[in-house]
């Protein structure tokens, strides 16, 4: 059986299932109860109690850092940091105390850090510069973190379950926007490192994650009317990255556009472009196109925000540019 549910509901189910399965799993975050409205953690406190659904003082540092400490002694924390913008206050904890900790200590005594950091990303909601960011490249740049970027409720649920079971710190990013989608009743997981071809095509490869998949699919549909056959690939996780699927596609199409809501410089597009160049240099018939935020803070006013963030139009333009090149 399939139902159509939101990403938040899908994540809520994933957390409840994993918390039932494993008593070491708990959730910690700001204002987790009493809550109003639907979120990934809504209602969990009723089933699991206040120790396993911990409403924390207002410190991202304490939330993220406590997750590290608990993980080191055998718990499996899910740290809800609300927005990626707020998590800048916890970057020492996330980058150095989580991502680098195991390696720094040589994996002492089988050290493990099974932590999931939940962060909301994305603009298009007039959130302005500090409630709209999608700093994927920030985390991908640093070693030791896995990175999940689901684009659908199905993937959000399946990837979150995988994240909770992973013995390493996982950054789990969900976008503020996104439609409900089909999710099976039966349990399932989505493995890390397996891209999905959202739309097969022969002319250009588009790589996109999260809400950018939605925009890219629309752009691809529009271009199909003009006879341009776009293949849209959603890697679902950036780390590990299913570069093989991307490279195979580029070998076929000869052209690549990476669509990313984050700022462009040293971004996801630069990295995927570099990896593709390294592996399929001769296949590339045009420079890798990058559709991204042109290195600006996200402005508040809707017309300005539209000008800065990727749009269906800007994706179409970039795709067409790789064809004329």
């Amino acid at each position: 059986m399939m139902r159509s549910i939101t990403t938040a509901q899908a994540m809520n189910e994933a957390l409840a299932e994993e918390m039932r399965r494993d008593p070491a799993v708990y959730v910690v975050g700001l204002g987790l109860y009493p809550s109003a409205g639907e979120s990934a953690t809504s209602g969990l406190v009723d089933e699991f109690g206040e120790l396993r659904v911990r409403s924390a003082p207002m410190s991202e540092t304490a939330i993220a850092g406590s997750a590290v400490g608990a993980a080191l002694v055998g718990m499996r924390p899910v740290a809800e940091l609300h927005l990626a913008d707020f998590a800048f206050n916890a970057l020492d904890e996330i980058l150095s105390k989580s991502g680098k900790w195991r390696y720094t200590h040589g994996g002492n005594d089988g050290m493990k850090l099974p932590i999931v950091f939940l962060e909301g990303i994305g603009g298009y909601v007039a959130g302005a510069s500090e409630h709209s960011q999608s700093p994927l490249a920030l985390y991908w740049h640093f070693p030791g973190l896995k990175i999940a970027v689901p684009a659908t409720p199905y993937d959000a649920k399946g990837l979150l379950k995988t994240a909770v079971r992973d013995d390493n710190p996982v950054m789990f990013f969900t976008h503020k926007l996104g439609a409900p989608g089909p999710v099976p009743d039966d349990e399932y997981v989505v493995p890390f490192g397996e891209a999905v071809v959202r739309r097969p095509g022969a002319d250009v490869t588009v790589v996109a994650t999260s809400y950018m998949v939605v925009l890219s699919m629309e752009a691809a549909a529009n271009l199909a009317d003009q006879g341009v056959d776009v293949e849209v690939i959603d890697p679902r996780t950036l780390e590990p990255l299913d570069i093989e699927t991307i490279v195979a596609s580029v070998v076929k199409t000869g052209r690549l556009v990476v669509v990313d809501e984050d700022t462009e410089r040293c971004g996801v597009g630069a990295e995927i472009g570099a990896q593709v160049m390294e592996r399929a240099f001769t296949a590339l018939r045009a420079p890798v196109g990058r559709v991204a935020n042109p290195n600006l803070p996200v402005p508040y006013s809707p017309p300005l925000e539209q000008a800065v963030l990727p749009s269906i139009t800007s994706i179409e333009t970039a795709i067409l540019a790789t064809l004329t090149n």
Binding site: S35, S55, P57, V125, P299
Partner: protein, 316 residues
């Protein structure tokens, strides 16, 4: 030092204008004219007791909540509302939304992370001290925000450097729908002052005159070079966390606090003492409502920025 009738009236007018602004902003949020949400400060206008006594050359760091900081400092409501509507005429040309700066009135901008202002406040204090000036910086924060490391590090630094900062914690008892007992271990945030060897005082935040009095002492102290202080204003947020949010707090609480409305409270006292007539009070309210209605109309009619403006203003 007691306030003159004129000073009290000025304070009252600021509170009424602030309330009227909040109501206008709330209406614009409800009508969808504000593309994001609005975090109402209704019920917390007692803080104006501190703000109105700042000098023109003093500084203020605000929070995410309410507009009394701007109104109390003399910012233009039209440009404030234009900003909230994302219009070109706004204080930040529509780029900031709730993140408003008004440098002319000593308000340096709004941080998207709560607690982001405290380190800025000590920087302003540094500047004042280096210039040898006698300005002060008044720095507001919520009791939830007291949890953050920035609050601690900044208060400590202000105390070590003896900076002219007046820390004002507006304790409205909640972070969103979560009561303070879930995130602070002691009932009084003012207790933090002991860690820094500075005065800490709990004040009835809904009594604007009491706030004025306590703030006066702290401002005098800061201005004279004797260093920072911490005031904790006990108050209550009447509206939900944000206009877009659902309130699951016990409604009886709001009812009880409404009886202690800081605006009505000051009005009643001034009426009683004869420092305000009923006619004056009504005129003040009417004028404020009219002003804010005009500001709302201005903001609504004002044009959006040109999309090309998105590519300006990154660097000076």
């Amino acid at each position: 030092m007691t306030l003159t009738a004129v000073e009290k009236q000025a304070l009252y007018i600021a509170m009424v204008r602030s309330r009227a602004f909040e109501e206008a902003a709330g209406a614009l949020a409800a009508s969808g004219d504000i593309p994001a949400s609005w975090l109402s400060g209704i019920g917390q206008e007692g803080t104006l007791g501190a703000i109105v006594q700042l000098r023109a050359d003093d500084y203020l760091t605000i929070t995410h909540r309410g507009a009394y900081g701007f109104i109390g400092r003399g910012s233009d409501p039209r440009r404030l509302l234009a900003e909230l509507l994302g219009k070109k005429a706004g204080y930040c040309k529509g780029k900031g939304g709730r993140h408003i700066a008004d440098l002319e009135h000593g308000i340096l901008g709004k941080s998207g992370t709560v607690g982001g202002h405290a380190p800025l406040a000590i920087g302003v204090g540094t500047a004042i001290q280096n210039w040898g000036g006698d300005q002060v910086v008044l720095s507001l924060f919520g009791e939830g925000t007291s949890n953050r490391g920035t609050t601690h590090a900044s208060m400590n630094t202000a105390a070590v450097w003896q900076l002219p900062v007046v820390w004002v914690c507006e304790n409205n008892g909640y972070v969103g729908n979560v009561p303070a007992s879930v995130y602070t271990a002691t009932p009084d945030i003012a207790d933090m002052a002991a860690s820094y060897g500075m005065p800490g005082e709990v004040v009835d935040g809904n009594d604007a005159l009491a706030v004025h009095d306590a703030a006066r002492r702290a401002i005098v102290r800061a201005r004279s070079g004797s260093g920072p202080s911490l005031l904790e204003l006990k108050t209550y947020r009447i509206r939900p966390f944000a206009e877009s949010a659902t309130d699951v707090r016990d409604p009886a609480e709001a009812v009880a606090w409404r009886d202690r409305d800081p605006v009505a409270g000051l009005r009643d006292r001034l009426l009683e003492s004869g420092e305000l007539t009923l006619a004056d009070a009504e005129a003040v309210t009417a004028a404020a409502r009219e002003e804010m209605a005009a500001a709302a109309a201005y903001a609504r009619e004002s044009p959006f920025p040109d999309p090309a403006a998105a590519f300006e203003d990154l660097y000076a």
